[in-house]
Symmetry: C2
Subunit: 380 residues, 2 copies
Amino acid sequence: MPSALPALADQVAGCPTYVQDYLAACATRIDAEIAQVLEAEVKDPWLRGAITYHFGWAGADFVPLPAAQRAAGGKRLRPALALLCYECARVNRGGAGAEDEIAIAFATALELVHNYSLIHDDIQDRDLLRRGRPTVWSVYGQAQAINVGNCLHAAGFAACRGRGRATGGNVLVGELIASLATASLEMTWGQRRDLMFETLDDVTVDMYLQMIAGKTAALIACATYGGALLAYADPSAHQPLPAYAEFGCQLGMGFQIRDDILGIWGKETQTGKARGGDIRRRKKSLPVLLALQEASPGARARLRALYAMTTDLTSDQERKVRSILDECGAQALAQRHADLHSRRALSALARAAGRPEARRENPFFGALEQLTGLATTRTG
Amino acid sequence: MPSALPALADQVAGCPTYVQDYLAACATRIDAEIAQVLEAEVKDPWLRGAITYHFGWAGADFVPLPAAQRAAGGKRLRPALALLCYECARVNRGGAGAEDEIAIAFATALELVHNYSLIHDDIQDRDLLRRGRPTVWSVYGQAQAINVGNCLHAAGFAACRGRGRATGGNVLVGELIASLATASLEMTWGQRRDLMFETLDDVTVDMYLQMIAGKTAALIACATYGGALLAYADPSAHQPLPAYAEFGCQLGMGFQIRDDILGIWGKETQTGKARGGDIRRRKKSLPVLLALQEASPGARARLRALYAMTTDLTSDQERKVRSILDECGAQALAQRHADLHSRRALSALARAAGRPEARRENPFFGALEQLTGLATTRTG
């Protein structure tokens, strides 16, 4: 089976722990690609340095860190999904239409856009730490950090062309950039709601689901749609592209809900986040919204009062919130939501990948199924 | 002569004040297009409202303002340049290859990207007013304002496709978006330098010119290049596209230098900006840098000391700076720089527009010449 990414594809075939291995190999490959894109597209050494710091590859003084001291990076979930969907669709349509270089470029672009949103998120939330290191704004100041994020945002669009920069070029690249622009727009709608929830008393579960559909799921849907689009080489309506987009959307919803659960009950050593941080900052994540719906009237009133505070909660108040959530089974209720989206994702994926016999013979379909399970059951 | 924009083209032909008329007609047309793009691309009513407020078409409560109460908008220089270059190149190559809808879409995208940068600039500079109205961040808070800017940035990329959203589509659209991404990247390099100049003592004229090449000229060069590209329909090297890009770059440099001059000597009623604001905020604009080079040693030391302050200058200190600038003829020195770039722009434009007889018969060439003069001699 010819593959865009031989080294990665080898690790998929017949390895029992293959999704984790694929993710690790993909992260290494994409990180190398990000470094090359930054070299090619970001001509300003200061901006490149600040971005390299953000990715955990250099200190705040831009001096590259030795491999052993490098901070653990992100999961590179979006690139992995884009590449797996590209491979899955490519196998399904018989291995033809490979656009390997653009697939890697698009996967890289997704990660750049994702990281622009992280840098701006940290400014907006006044977060001092990300993955255990001072955030970009807390190191370089807010004005420069806004600009660093904007640079990554633009770099994402520039990166879609691929390093070959074939002009006169590929119609698919235009379509990919357009879908990236739409996803980036949807991210701002989600972010608008998320910011507004901070000062809004009556956030409902429906409002929350709309918020994460934009903030998290839109870019993941763009990844799965765009990857498959490259394999089909034509965004016409008769292809399974809508099913690929739906797959990414549902997986993204499940992924974010699992993130909310880990934000409250996750182990600090596994999540890399301070335990209870989401509660102390009174974040209206899904478990809290479900508790406000499902808890007894008394517990609900206490929870509401705690979340109506205007400052961070104390450790004692955090414990009170935690016991209200535990009493009404908020974790299981939220996990039920995550599982629902996971099932919907698997169903869309099956539609996307065609008849059962085609799916059985497609190792990338199996990898995507595993990844879907992982997204909503992971512990870190 | 068939034209993409009959109403605008009519006003160009044979009207003695035609550039101003063209600019006014273009602004009306582009503003209508921006409104339609926002309706189509920005589905979130809150974000659309905040953007509408920024453009001066609605109050802070999103209620549309009657036409008479609408704030005077920007000049829409970038869209006008893109459309004029499109028309100029189209006439030159014989009127064929018209891509009218995409030309309008691209012109609109340029204005969206320009305005994203204004919204973020105001946050970074802590500016409270723009065109006499409270800035977006001072109305909706900084976190939401960052997001409003990001929304416009993404909307710019999304808008390039045009409202028809022809997929499977136009190779030129991919090339336009790529050039917009590159310009947007260059803008962040310029902005990085501009922000750094605030705390840097030894800013040289060369450093300043590099800064405005990114911050201002890159997007204007993208406008002139992209407009011409649409007319030539093929970004190959044998066409006058590099000359169109150079024209925009030089015009952009001249435009920004004139802006610096108006920021010190302009009339408040004509510029819409507080007189002396640039001096009070100790902005290292070109006239100041030239004075630091050219003034007598004593005056230079006094100027340096005033600009080393860490707070805004008082009215008295502003007067002192002004007299140092006037004594060494900083306005004329800066204008000489503006004129130099204006001449270079005209020379690049002549190269772009072909042989003299072709230029004489091309009304859009004349309009672009006029606009170049206007950019560096305007009073508001």
